[in-house]
């Protein structure tokens, strides 16, 4: 019935515009969950979130409540958070330690960390002669079809087939390489805190905003001006202001015209990169000490390579926005057609001096906490966008900025010189969306 009503999804997505239904139709949302989020690789968490055997974190993949769990064998697995007996969720907390095994709170069925049945109370007398037998896989907690991790970042796919994680990520894996390479020890560890903020808007609206280089100086003008005022006062008084002020005042000092000087790189599968604009290579003593720690670990030449990686955001479609130079990421969990949860995490560069962690932490607190000085106005826009798209005032979302002027090389679409505000990232995301939705159609 659903497929009859939206018989031709392809007609909703044109190369330079998208029909508003794609954002507001609850049936399309259900189809997206089935064909995109519950098929492609979705970020579950970082291995350091579950350091000990039995540690688990709850994670939502599409509509599926899942558990990321560390086994006695040290392996990290992703299981459906469901008891195979009567369907009770195995873990009701967001995170914890399940001990040597999972135990259902309803009838005490127990399971090993890999989901395999351990025991059922009075199993022999209760099930003798029935079709429930210990070797029946229906007695196990079901596993995600595929789980892989890249540099400690764990992803799961609920589809048996499809590209491997590294194939799926393609060049966007630079998000994790850039983040980890910036650590003298070559890896990061979780800062054990998750900021959770709900957006009253469709999940794609957030993703499209992440690489939208035209919006910062408009949306975030108020914060940029306020931070610039205070930054200048502090400079006048003490000679220099903390870098966190610069991170905020860039919204005012980088004026709307200057955003065309930056660039987006758009990759297959909807992934994209926005190049950096904040100029985060100051020469204060803390930075120099940090640079020396990288020289000690990697040598001068490699240190320069690592620090010259010029990234602001990497967007890994359809559910992750990574800010590798500041070691934070936002995972997108669609809750409904007009409701989206973002889970925001920060990571510590292993082996880097404390002040470098503190500097990134300031950004995490000021920009990404629930008292954010920045995202507040984005969220206001997201809600207004969703409201506007729900109206009959027009059918199309326009992605025509610098359309036809992108430079394509080997499947990578680069915005042309002086066209950083191109809407290429949105076009690229919708291209991937259309591909997934169509291929899902064929598969069914």
């Amino acid at each position: 019935m659903l497929l009859e009503r939206i018989s031709n999804l392809a007609e909703l997505v044109e190369p330079d515009r998208v029909h508003r239904q794609v954002y507001t139709d609850a049936d399309i949302f259900r189809l997206e969950m089935e064909r995109i989020h519950e098929r492609v690789w979705i970020y579950c968490g970082h291995e350091s979130q579950v350091p000990k055997a039995g540690d688990y974190c709850a994670v939502q993949i599409g509509r599926q409540p899942m558990l990321m769990v560390r086994g006695n064998d040290r392996q990290v697995r992703v299981l459906y958070n469901r008891c195979p007996h009567r369907g009770n969720m195995m873990c009701g907390d967001r995170q914890g330690n399940t001990g040597d095994f999972f135990r259902c709170s309803y009838h005490a069925w127990t399971f090993h960390h890999d989901g395999k049945l351990k025991n059922i109370p009075m199993m022999e007398s209760g099930y003798d002669g029935t079709r429930l037998t210990r070797d029946n896989p229906d007695c196990n907690m079901k596993s995600a079809a595929r789980v892989e991790s890249y540099r400690g970042f764990v992803f799961a796919s609920l589809a048996d087939d499809g590209p491997s994680l590294t194939e799926f990520l393609g060049p966007s894996k630079i998000a994790f390489d850039d983040m980890c390479d910036r650590a003298p020890m070559g890896e990061v560890e979780i800062v054990p805190n998750c900021f959770r903020v709900i957006q009253n808007s469709n999940w794609k609206i957030f993703l499209e905003n992440q690489l939208d280089a035209l919006h910062p100086s408009v949306t975030h003008q108020s914060t940029g001006r306020a931070a610039l005022d205070v930054e200048n006062e502090i400079k006048k008084e003490t000679g220099h202001a903390p870098l966190s002020y610069h991170m905020l005042s860039a919204f005012a000092s980088v004026t709307i015209e200057k955003w065309d000087d930056f660039q987006t790189l758009n990759y297959p599968n909807g992934h994209c990169i926005l190049t950096g604009y904040m100029g985060l290579r100051p020469q204060d003593p803390d930075t120099l000490a940090y640079e020396q720690s990288l020289v000690d670990a990697y040598g001068e030449k490699r240190k320069d390579e690592i620090l010259s990686t010029n990234i602001h955001h990497v967007l890994i479609y359809p559910g992750l926005s990574v800010q590798s130079p500041l070691q934070q990421l936002r995972a997108v969990r669609p809750l409904g057609v007009d409701k989206t949860l973002t889970e925001i995490w920060h990571f510590r560069l292993k082996g880097a001096p404390e002040p470098i962690y503190r500097r990134a932490l300031a950004y995490y607190n000021l920009v990404n906490s629930p008292a954010t000085l920045v995202n507040a106005d984005d969220l206001e826009n997201f809600w207004k966008i969703h409201q506007g798209l729900s109206s009959d005032g027009g059918d199309w979302v326009n992605f025509q900025r610098h359309y036809g002027r992108d430079v394509e090389n080997n499947g990578v679409v680069q915005t042309g010189p002086g066209m950083g505000t191109s809407e290429a990232p949105m076009r690229n995301q919708m291209k991937a969306w259309a591909k997934y939705m169509k291929s899902g159609n064929e598969a069914h």
Partner: protein, 197 residues
């Protein structure tokens, strides 16, 4: 800069985690008699807290910031077990300069999310003077708050506890540290917090 939370494990907050009536009553009566030794302090501190919350509801941001000492901090921990705002995730951890950024942002005509009608009402109560420094007159005081916020057509309800480290000045107090532990700090935020709670 004071960063220690006086509500440590050694001295649990009164009335929390204890259900049986008599031990609690005993504990309260002991504490109460200690507190009534300085009714004037209790009165002055309570008045200070009430007035502080009124400044939020009246949106008198600069007056609110003026209540903080020059090295004062407003802190809302990300997690209740945190004992310092230094080097840990915080929902707010602001000195007076950052507070001024927040104020200036809120007052800017293009702070889009501030345009819709919004307002708050705070109720502060359960004011307990935790300690008084006999020499300086500095006070540590705990209290509880409820705050209702209207934003556009929606109301939100926040509640929790304040911990104030107050330093005495000629005509009252200044805040060296205000710690805000919201009961619902850990819940997902439907929209965000724009100003101090």
């Amino acid at each position: 800069m004071p960063t220690e939370n006086s509500m440590t494990k050694e001295s649990p907050p009164i009335g929390i985690g204890k259900e049986s009536a008599s031990p609690v009553r005993t504990e309260l009566s002991v504490k109460s008699s200690a507190i009534t030794d300085d009714v004037r302090t209790q009165h002055a501190v309570a008045q200070f807290l009430y007035r502080q919350s009124e400044l939020l509801d009246a949106k008198l941001w600069q007056h609110y910031i003026d209540l903080f000492a020059d090295d004062g901090h407003y802190w809302m921990p990300a997690m209740p077990e945190q004992t310092t705002g230094e080097g840990v995730p915080s929902i707010f951890y602001e000195d007076k300069n950052l507070m001024r950024v927040r104020m200036k942002r809120v007052l800017h005509p293009d702070a889009w999310s501030q345009r819709p009608l919004w307002g708050t009402s705070h109720v502060v109560s359960n004011v307990v003077v935790e300690s008084i420094d006999a020499e300086s007159g500095d006070v540590t005081v705990r209290s509880r708050f409820h705050m209702l916020e209207l934003r556009r057509d929606n109301t939100r309800h926040f509640a929790g506890s304040y911990l104030h480290h107050l330093t005495q000045i000629a005509d009252g107090y200044l805040i060296r540290l205000q710690r805000v532990d919201m009961v619902n700090a850990q819940a997902p935020y439907d929209y965000v917090l724009q100003v101090w709670v």
